[in-house]
Amino acid sequence: MNENSPKNLNVINVGLSSFADTINGAGGKAINVEWRPPAGGDVAAATALAGLVNNSVIENANRTAFEKYLNAQPVLEGIGRAGDVIPNMGERTILYSGPPIDWQNVCGPVHGAVIGAVIYEGWAKDQTSAEDLLRSGEVTIDPCHHHSAVGPMAGIVSPSMPVWMVASKADGNKAFTTLNEGLGKVLRFGANSPEVIERLKWMQKTLSGVLSAALSASDGIDIKTIMAQALYMGDEVHNRNAAATGLLLKQLAPRAVRSNLPADDIAQAIEFIAGNDHFFLNISMAACKVMLDAAHGVPNSSMVTAMARNGVEFGIRVSGCGDQWFTTPAPVVEGLYFPSYSIADAAPDLGDSSITETAGLGGFAMAASPAIVQFVGGTPADSIVRSREMEPITIGRNDALTIPALDFRGTAAGIDIRKVVDTGILPIINTGIAHKEAGVGQIGAGITRAPMACFAKAILSLSESRIE
């Protein structure tokens, strides 16, 4: 049939698997597709997808977007005050994680955290007056992602908070994120008690001062290098940041000590960082945001440039689909719960931290971090299977971020909405689990999947808007 191989019949069999057995038994060669309805059974999306397969316009756009992602060189430049450095933020705005949501609909942890931020800023003196102020609409709440920012869990950023500034050497684009507060009663899980506000004040005054001084004594710290090293040391830089935090501290500590700041401030700062294995997480997220923002806005590209959750909805953004969010209800995460908690206590998936998976890290780099797979009772072999499972839904590999257990191949990166919808393989996400009520904090951690409906909606949009 085919001009190239007139003698042979080589068949891809979609559907009844016995047909492949017949072909293989009768001198042909056939392989079976482990088929299931594409787009989770959404016929409209499955049909729209079919028209986008092997499309040269989209392939070219994806090549461009992916290259921009690869070329981005995130560098930690310094610390700034959120209200001063974050674009279009101003003095009366609070940022939160995930896709846009109205104040009256936010989840428990975001609700508690926004109130905490109002108290921290001194806009209200207590919970009740903070609620009144927020109800009045005088304070704008807006997604981090709309301001080149990302935040873990509730993701709250208010104007006075110190934020990391990460910039790409390639394009100069920047991303911002808060300093990680540690575990326990913390704002990002919705806690807003006086001890939480006190810690935030200390971070604003003392910690940011030490970090600023340490960073001003350098040309910035190359984040991709730290990430690459950390992947060789058991981190996937989303749910495990122990190694990366240590690597960062190695660079910061001597510079901090050489500054003229009081020795006790420096000691406090170093102790704080050393006591928080997640300290690097926010920086990892901002670096990923820088890499993915570089890839955003390429017309006709089907590459995912953000996956984020607000505790109510899960949303994705796609390079070729502009500012649109494609959302669906956020899943509740299956995982390991701390004693006395269960899935019934969990808030639906929350936080911008899935930006790491979007950039090929976190769950996508699970093979580098066998420790994480224990959250779902897996083995080191499972962690490799999970990383490899992401290869068919991504555009390429990031050879700057390699994994020993994958024979030093780069991580699979650049999620292609077409491939997700076509294969039904959903992006894997490693994540912490927040209690559904504000302030209780983290109650577990686990592994979840991005929901199909977001990708199906994005396919329909890309299919309609595509310029030939």
Partner: protein, 521 residues
């Protein structure tokens, strides 16, 4: 009696696997009806229609729905247990080994690991089949769509896309093809040779290719187009492409075209292309006026059997003889012998077909010889059965038609429906002849003649007691190389008391002769 349902979320199995599970459950004691299906809107509607569920269940195409009707709680539980056991044994679990490659989940993924692929065979549910076919074409593959229920607009769009890119689309609803010697879908094992076939009919293609094989010649390519290809909307795009491919194929010396009569302008295009092919083209447009098909290189055939004979003559370098084929292989004495036990009330033929084209051909031939016959899908209005489950007068049924198969496996795979009908027709004192087709080959039941022999025997035993035993006439469409074996299948039917002939046309002519003689008597 009670019913119960169970939903297993996110568990996909293909329809064949589910049919096996349903059928296993049905065999359990105390189970009246049972079904395991994907919970699509259409499937749920079917179950509601079948009275298996009364309340509407929310459709979820990735969920598996098990519904059981049984005589007590115990039989329901046993059926659920068995279904779940079969489901857990069916598909490999997610592997823990890093060495295992992820099995392909899409055509694109499959192509990554099997880049030499040149054809996609698509048999997923019809609502997704058009999309899968489009992907395959965009990835540079020829396509065979076995699935039915693909909208005709999608068929047109796919075939136009294929025409632009020089690819072939066989189907939708293309049940069979033989490409480069490899059988696809429901197909028979035939010798390779220099006769190429393009057919809009699956069983037509099987009958002609098997007869060619039995007559000592072989097949180069057998291209199916799907039954709607010659519809005015589709415009015969696949038959034209297939014809052009066979004209170019150096291994094809003779071409055979099989279809119902196409719209006139399409017929003209097809015949013009056939005339240009430079090769002899045998044309069997079922029921068409042979005189309208004259032309350079064109050899019209009235039946599938005749098409096979003409192609074989041409392949052997002879001119096909104009002389008509023998009606069947029984002489007058044998016929008389058959007739003697019939009682006066037995005057009608009842055709219980599994192949749509066979039933169509039977109606055409019978109409010419004994007048119009009744059917669930008659040739002409006015002969439609009021109740498809009850035959009246001379009746020919296509039991593979949607009317009969809704919610049930096709009679080529599962004989329960046809076996029940055999018993029913044999009980009718007006039945003189029961006509049966037995299609073997890949995809068909593993031992259809064996399965049908039991009912033929039972029907004959019961009918002998009432003094009205009908004559069973059967033919087997297949070859000696088929896994079920032609000769063995024919023997089983003969041993059960059926008269076995070589083709559908012979079977119908024999039935017609019997009816005429009954009338004279």
């Amino acid at each position: 009696m009670q019913t119960a349902q169970k939903i297993l979320p996110n568990l996909y199995r293909d329809s064949v696997a589910l049919m096996q599970i349903s059928s296993k459950m049905c065999d359990l004691p105390g189970v009246i009806q049972a079904s395991a299906i994907m919970a699509t809107e259409a499937n749920i509607a079917l179950l509601v229609g079948a009275g298996l569920i009364d309340k509407t269940i929310e459709p979820a195409p990735n969920d598996l729905l098990i519904t059981i009707q049984g005589k007590d709680e115990k039989s329901l539980m046993a059926a659920f247990d068995q279904a779940e056991a079969s489901l857990s044994g069916g598909q490999p679990e997610n592997s823990n080994s890093a060495d295992t490659n992820l099995s392909p989940r899409s055509i694109e993924m499959a192509l990554d690991e099997f880049s030499e692929a040149n054809l996609a065979l698509i048999s997923c549910p019809g609502e997704y089949a058009g999309a899968e076919a489009r992907k395959a074409l965009l990835l540079g593959l020829d396509v065979m769509i076995f699935s039915d229920n693909v909208p005709v607009e999608d068929e047109v769009a796919l075939k136009q896309l294929a025409a632009e890119t020089g690819k072939l689309v066989m189907g939708p609803d293309c049940g069979t093809a033989i490409i480069n010697g490899v059988p696809l879908g429901f197909a028979n094992v035939v010798t390779r040779g220099d006769i190429g076939i393009v057919a809009a009919s699956g069983t037509g293609l099987q009958q002609v290719s098997c007869l060619i094989d039995q007559l000592g010649c072989g097949i180069s390519q057998a291209i199916g187009t799907g039954g709607r290809d010659l519809n005015a909307k589709v415009g015969g795009l696949s038959i034209l492409k297939g014809l052009a491919m066979l004209a170019d194929d150096e291994n094809t010396a003779v071409i055979t075209l099989i279809s119902k009569p196409p719209a006139r302008e399409i017929a003209e295009k097809v015949l013009a292309l056939a005339a240009e092919s430079g090769k002899p083209v045998v044309v069997n447009f079922l029921g068409a006026d042979a005189d309208a098909l004259r032309g350079k290189n064109i050899f019209p055939a009235g039946t599938l059997e005749q098409a096979a004979h003409m192609a074989v003559h041409l392949s052997k370098g002879n001119k096909p003889s104009e002389k008509t084929l023998p009606r069947h292989n029984l002489d007058e004495a044998e016929l008389r012998g058959l007739l003697s036990p019939l009682s006066d009330s037995q005057t009608y033929v009842r055709g219980l077909y599994s192949g749509g084209t066979f039933s169509y051909e039977a109606m055409l031939l019978l109409e010419k010889e004994i007048g119009p016959v009744n059917s669930s899908t008659p040739l002409r209005a006015g002969h439609k059965l009021n109740d498809i489950w009850t035959s009246t007068g001379n009746t020919i049924l296509d039991l593979g038609d949607d009317l009969f198969t809704r919610g049930r496996p096709h009679p080529m795979i599962d004989h329960r429906l046809r076996n029940d009908r055999i018993l029913k027709e044999a009980r009718d004192p007006e039945t003189a002849v029961i006509l049966l087709d037995v299609v073997i080959g890949y995809g068909s039941h593993g031992d259809p003649a064996g399965s049908m022999s039991d009912s033929i025997r039972a029907a004959r035993e019961a009918a002998v007691k009432t003094g009205c035993c009908p004559i069973f006439i059967a033919f087997v469409c297949g070859t000696e190389k088929d896994p079920q074996n032609l000769v063995g299948q024919e023997k089983k039917l003969r041993d059960a008391g059926a008269i076995v002939v070589g083709s559908n046309a012979q079977a119908v002519r024999l039935a017609s002769d019997i009816l005429s003689m009954v009338k004279e008597k």
